[in-house]
């Protein structure tokens, strides 16, 4: 029995540079369309499923796409803020239940999602460890956040300051991790969920500070009388909410004027939905209501249009690469003509020679298949992150 595979393997190992180039080319031909397929399917899954499960979104007039992407997938593009009063108005119509959202801040690269506990029920979120946020300054983190940052309940997570050099800007808030969500394979895996008021704390709208009545620090107290205590700007503001200082946190002014980025509206029925949408048709209404599935359908149509173009480009590039590979192989046969003649002279048959060449092709194909398999495992493992980075 002839040792075609052994000889082919020796040849490929000896010419390892050429072999690796061939394997890389063949693998690329397969990996690019397959990876694209996985990423497009994951994009579709993440975009469509979530959009279909979100009946209506209310936000300030502007880009409907930004509103949907920020509210559903927590993208960096922050829509123009609306007021809490807007959410209260919807609730007052009794047409829909509302879940407020304030998605503006980040914590170590992950979006901080200010909302209420209703959001957990609405998205069907379950905790794999700890509890939901109960106190101001507590957060519940997604499975990917916990994994990537190595956090668990009881740990702390700092919000990211928005402007480092702005003394009046947003300072980091040290948040306590109350719980970790079970994996959802969606945007919530990458979210830091906090109570709406905690986001206002991050923004500095709610704050706690040293009790000036109890303070005896003469460098802080300017004037003290029986009814008033006047303090200067040295009065310390807390950047961490603890059991001791939680009571000192308060908001100034009307809560209705506080900011949100969107409100998820859950109409009680189709009629309620129609009525609610009708209320936001007037051009002078500062708010808009959008159906996320309509926005996402438009986005998907664009993605598929781009994908069709990409598929065509990939097809032509693959064909060109394949032809180049055939050419390389044909040229290498010509270069190896003397070797082939010698092997024939020694007594090798044409079929045995063909077996050896076929074995070379088969080994290159198998190595490429392994490489493609590994690449697909990696792409599948990180497809959510890739989709978030490239699409969302």
């Amino acid at each position: 029995m002839i040792s075609s595979v052994y000889i082919a393997w020796r040849y490929l190992v000896f010419n390892s540079g050429r072999t690796l180039t061939l394997v890389a080319c063949v693998s690329l031909i397969a990996v690019v369309p397959l990876a694209l397929e996985i990423i497009v399917e994951e994009s579709k899954r993440q975009l469509v499923e979530r959009a279909q499960r979100t009946p209506l979104l209310v936000g300030t007039r502007g880009s409907a796409l930004d509103l949907v992407m920020n509210s559903l997938y927590f993208s960096d593009e922050v829509p123009q803020e609306m007021k809490v009063a807007g959410a209260q108005e919807i609730a007052a119509t009794d047409l829909a239940a509302t879940i407020p959202l304030y998605v503006r801040f980040r914590a170590r690269g992950f979006p901080v999602v200010g909302t209420t506990l209703d959001y957990f029920d609405f998205r069907g979120l379950e905790l794999q460890a700890g509890t939901a946020f109960v106190l101001l300054g507590e957060c519940v983190i997604g499975a990917t956040v916990a994994e990537q940052l190595g956090l668990e309940p009881g740990d702390a997570l700092l919000s990211t300051p928005e402007t480092v050099f702005d003394l009046a800007g947003v300072y980091p808030l040290k948040m306590r991790v109350a719980g970790v969500l079970a994996r959802t394979n969606g945007a919530d895996d990458l979210a830091v969920l906090v109570d709406l008021k905690t986001t206002w704390v991050i923004q500095g709208l709610i704050h706690g500070h040293e009790d000036v009545v109890k303070s005896r620090d003469s460098s802080i107290i300017i004037d003290r009388s029986e009814r008033n205590v006047t303090a200067n700007a040295k009065l310390m503001q807390y950047r961490e909410i603890t059991e001791d200082n939680a009571g000192s946190f308060h908001l100034h002014g009307d809560e209705g004027a506080y900011p949100l980025t969107a409100v998820i509206a859950l109409p009680h029925d189709d009629k309620a939905e129609t009525l609610l949408r009708g209320r936001y048709l007037e051009a002078d209404n500062p708010y808009q209501v959008v159906r996320p599935r309509d926005v996402v359908d438009g986005l998907m149509a664009n993605i598929f249009r781009i994908r069709t173009v990409l598929d065509t480009v990939i097809l032509f590039v693959s064909l060109a690469t394949l032809m180049a590979l055939v050419l390389v192989f044909a040229l290498s046969l010509r270069l190896r003509q003397r070797e082939i003649d010698t092997i024939f002279k020694l007594g090798c048959s044409r079929s045995a020679m063909a077996q050896m060449l076929a074995a070379e092709i088969a080994i290159v194909a198998m190595m490429s298949a392994v490489l493609v398999g590994l690449a697909m495992v990696v792409v599948s493992r990180y497809d959510q992150q890739v989709v978030r980075a490239l699409v969302l």
Partner: protein
Amino acid sequence: MIAIEALRFAYRQGTFRLHIPALTVPEGQKLAVIGPSGSGKTTLLNLIAGIQPPDSGMIDVAGTPVHALDDARRRTFRITRVGFVFQDFELLDYLNVLDNILHPYRVSGALRLDAEVRARAVELAGQMGIAGRLRHHAGELSQGEKQRAAICRALLPRPQLILADEATGNLDPDNKLHILDLLFRAVDEHGATLLAVTHDHELLPRFDRVVDFEAFRGEGTT
């Protein structure tokens, strides 16, 4: 051992014609074939080895009518009973010396590669003085070492006939004599017959017999 009668061969394209009315080589003889370039020396080796079939005539090697064999049988005959030594050694760069020596066993189903064959390959390499180079690739060897490895490859299947085509043509004078001595000794030890094409007239006295292709010119070689 070799009996040739009324051998005629012509390439389909070109004007080359080979005609050998008769040639006999007794068993164990070391025969040198000389002649000008293009006179058909290499073609004769190819015809005897069954690489090309003759147009007409008879070639008998140790009782095997090579001229009458089909392609498959000619290949089996060649790999089992003929050892080829080439001018450019024709070793495969991507194989080490041991794999090059074992190569005929790996490319043909007619030979069976087993532990005994491997042991004999190592022993042959020892006899040729290249035992320490068995794990080196062909490209790492000197010219003389390459030809020794090529001789080992030719001798390993214990062929009855060794065909050497300018086997010393690429070697320096010292190596030339040394390699020829090694080849002769190996041929004697294996009881084989040697038919060697050479241009080197200095080596001719070492052969048992010399056939000059000029002699065939008048008889039809053109």
